[in-house]
């Protein structure tokens, strides 16, 4: 899903103030790339029970992941409800309740549009492997949103990029944004406050408190299938002897001042789970501040 960073950049530029929900876990393609995105699943019961149990361990900003706890989701979410534009990224082919914009990963195929809905066909990603995604939206907003996306695509485009689009019918438009290899893969900086993790206490602007923690899982979301250099930034103390895990298996890690560095090859079809472990618990005062990733 290499188009996800590109689409995230497109939507962030086109629709400032956008609130986003990535309901595509266990893939989580949009999650790392669009700041403030809440993570979740579109259909929990369709997941393998072990994967569902794994995802149910995580909390993001103190809340369960979306789609796994209907009671928690019944609570008000002002950041979502008060946003003018509410984007849901989902593999499901129908509009998500509560979302003003539904981005259907992989497109909706030839399915007819429901009354009152419009669709923007997005062709995006690497120019030698374009991906189709469909944006479902209320029919009256088609022209406005299409224009915002088209203008954002034009301003984003760099040398060698292909971009264009047109209105196809009163309820349908298309937008193309293609990038030469290796695609649009920017550096990533994820503050710990935004990262889903499985500790009981949420983090905040001062970082995620780790003192005494023996094991911790992090769910950063999907990274395009390249070799990535990860850096975990800490504050309050040096992390000391720390083991790092990718999808439950230990990988080599190197301490650097204020952090840990590792190289990973993330899986292509799901968000990797990063693990940190300390034999005798994390040192006093240690806080996780951010996760950096560079391709």
């Amino acid at each position: 899903m290499s188009a996800a960073p590109l689409l995230a950049a497109l939507f962030a530029r086109a629709l400032p103030g956008l609130a986003a929900r990535d309901l595509g876990l266990p893939l989580g393609a949009l999650l790392p790339w669009l700041p403030g995105t809440r993570a979740g699943v579109a259909d929990a019961m369709a997941l393998d029970p072990a994967e569902r149990a794994l995802l149910a361990r995580f909390r993001q900003q103190g809340l369960p992941l979306l789609g796994l706890d209907p009671v928690a989701e019944a609570e008000p979410d002002p950041a979502w409800e008060e946003a003018r534009d509410r984007l849901a990224w989902t593999p499901s082919g129908s509009p998500m309740p509560g979302a003003s914009l539904t981005l259907v990963a992989g497109g909706t195929g030839q399915a007819p549009l429901a009354d009152g809905l419009a669709r923007i066909l997005l062709l995006a990603g690497c120019d030698d492997a374009p991906e189709r995604h469909d944006l479902l939206l209320p029919e009256p907003r088609l022209a406005e949103i299409y224009e915002c996306l088209r203008a954002a695509a034009a301003s984003l485009a760099g040398p060698g990029w292909q971009q264009g689009g047109r209105s196809l019918t009163p309820r349908q438009a298309s937008l193309l944004l293609l990038v030469p290899r290796p695609g649009h893969v920017p550096d990533l900086l994820l503050p710990s406050a935004a990262l889903p993790h499985d500790l009981p206490a949420p983090g905040g602007p001062a970082g995620l408190p780790l003192e005494g923690v023996r094991q911790l899982r992090l769910l950063p979301g999907a990274l395009p299938p390249l070799r990535w250099r990860l850096r975990l930034n800490f504050a309050g103390a040096e992390p000391g002897p720390t083991a790092l895990f990718l999808d439950g298996l230990r990988i080599p890690v190197r301490p650097v001042p204020g952090g840990l560095v590792a190289s990973i090859d993330p899986p292509a079809d799901r968000a990797p789970v990063l693990g940190l472990a300390w034999r005798d618990g994390a040192p006093p005062g240690l806080r996780l501040m951010a996760l950096e990733a560079r391709p």
């Binding site: 009671v71 928690a72 094991q215 899982r217 083991a243 439950g248 899986p267 799901r270 034999r279």
Partner: protein, 463 residues
């Protein structure tokens, strides 16, 4: 060689757990037949070289997730995660101790589950003992012998492996032929590597050549009868006694007055103590049919062993150990020790016979081959059908209930704690009724009843 994948779910070293050592010793043997991985709760656990260790919560993401599963379960809280994993997916289970009441009690399992297990294990006795537990919170040591709580493991496992015919017979008597038809006996395992040479081990520990050294080993549970050892040694002041392991605080002053207590030892130190001994005293009373890693190590080292003629120990050949009758207690032990001290060459002869027996029956390749046969036979069987309903104990709080049920499917039983009787009335009168007040969408309420101060709900959760 194309080896099918196998996931072993077990504690591993450095956990202070004999079953962790057993699992680590078994894995290289299994690796001759399977592409092995070990799933753990402690991510820093150590498996033998070449065998990946994976966080159990992520084991399903390993390539070849349909892999065969082997669970190692013992009767202590270090195996809670193994039980949970077995509940999630059936597999072959090695039941190191046929009694699992302590596991259930020490891992926060709901009292209703424990009482149900007690009822199942010994219906004729359960009413009385369950009343003691329910009304007075009394759980006696007798409970651990009378009520094994192995029913759930038997029901959820494709096959169950025990280390003695005694353990299998005990399970069969309690749970019946049908429920135990898939129980197989595979002897305990010799520890990996060559045991230390006796003379070197004694020199390392500062044991003189003429000293007669008695060793007891492992965590000194009451059933290991160190009280008998203490009494037996009253008339044998020349014998030196080392307890290679931990002793509970309540026993430590008494034992420490006669023996040197080492506390928990690393494996090589532990082996050195056993190899240095003239005799390992490894008693059990009462025995629940458990196996003994210390005994396996002593047999491997050629150390003479004195055991109780009970449980799994009674199955050892008569010339391989000295088996004391249970009725003999401390006097019989004193007599045996005095005879060995007077004729140490007899201890050597018994130790040699014990080693020959162990090498024939308990060597890793032979044990691993028997595991393979059991695992493959289990693959051909249909998965277990009658899975006991999991039971969750929670406060009567909709949010907590939703969180607890997230990810679950099928039948489930909730036991909801009620703060006061008025709470039940309020819930019943809620708009939409009790189910809507408490349960997440899709959960079907099949039955409800009151048990003490708990409201027990039988649910069917959507697949």
């Amino acid at each position: 060689m194309d080896r099918p994948p196998l996931l072993m779910v077990s504690p591993l070293p450095p956990a202070r757990n004999g079953i962790a050592d057993y699992a680590a010793a078994l894995l290289p043997g299994l690796a001759a037949h399977y592409d092995c991985a070990a799933a753990v709760e402690d991510w820093l656990a150590e498996a033998p070289a070449g065998i990946p260790v994976v966080d159990l919560a992520l084991a399903h993401r390993l390539p070849g997730d349909g892999r065969r599963r082997l669970y190692q379960i013992g009767n202590n809280p270090g195996h809670d995660f193994v039980l949970q994993a077995l509940r999630a997916r059936p597999g072959v289970t090695t039941l190191h101790d046929p009694g699992l009441l302590h596991l259930y009690e020490s891992t926060g399992e709901d009292r209703v589950t424990i009482l149900a297990g007690m009822r199942h294990a010994a219906p004729g006795l359960a009413a009385t003992y369950a009343r003691h537990l329910r009304e007075r919170g009394v759980s006696t040591r007798a409970n651990h012998l009378l009520f094994d709580l192995a029913g759930e493991v038997l029901a959820r496992s494709r096959a169950v492996i025990v280390h003695s015919r005694f353990a299998r017979a005990r399970l069969r008597l309690t749970h019946g032929e049908a429920a135990t038809a898939h129980v197989e006996v595979i002897p305990h395992l010799l520890p990996p590597g060559r045991p230390p040479v006796r003379a070197e081990a004694r020199a390392r520990l500062g044991i003189g050549p003429e000293e007669f050294l008695l060793v007891t080993a492992g965590f000194a549970s009451l059933a290991k009868r160190l009280d008998w050892v203490l009494a037996a040694l009253e008339g044998l002041p020349a014998l030196r006694w080392i307890h290679a392991g931990e002793v509970p605080a309540a026993l430590a002053p008494r034992i420490g007055g006669r023996a040197r207590i080492t506390g928990h030892l690393p494996a090589d130190e532990f082996d050195a103590h056993i190899a240095a001994a003239d005799v390992l005293v490894n008693l059990r009373f009462p025995s629940a049919g458990e196996s003994s890693g210390s005994l396996a190590r002593a047999l491997a080292a050629g150390t003479c062993c004195i055991v109780s003629r009970t449980g799994a120990f009674a199955e050892l050949p008569g010339d391989a150990v000295i088996a004391l009758p249970l009725a003999g207690g401390a006097p019989a032990l004193a007599e045996a020790l005095a005879a060995l001290a007077a004729a140490p060459e007899r201890a050597r002869a018994i130790g040699g016979a014990g080693r020959a027996h162990a090498e024939a029956e308990m060597a890793l390749p032979a044990v691993a081959a028997r595991y393979r046969a059991a695992i493959e036979a289990a693959e051909d069987r249909p998965p277990p059908r009658a899975e006991p309903t999991p039971l969750l104990r929670l406060a009567a709080d909709r949010t907590l209930i939703a969180a607890a049920l997230a990810g679950r499917t099928g039948a489930c039983r909730l036991c909801l704690g009620l703060e006061e009787s008025g709470q039940l009335a309020a819930l019943s009168l809620a708009p939409g009724g009790l189910a809507e007040a408490l349960l997440p969408p899709g959960a079907e309420l099949r039955a409800a009843r009151l048990e003490g101060r708990g409201l027990v709900l039988d649910l069917q959760l959507p697949a």
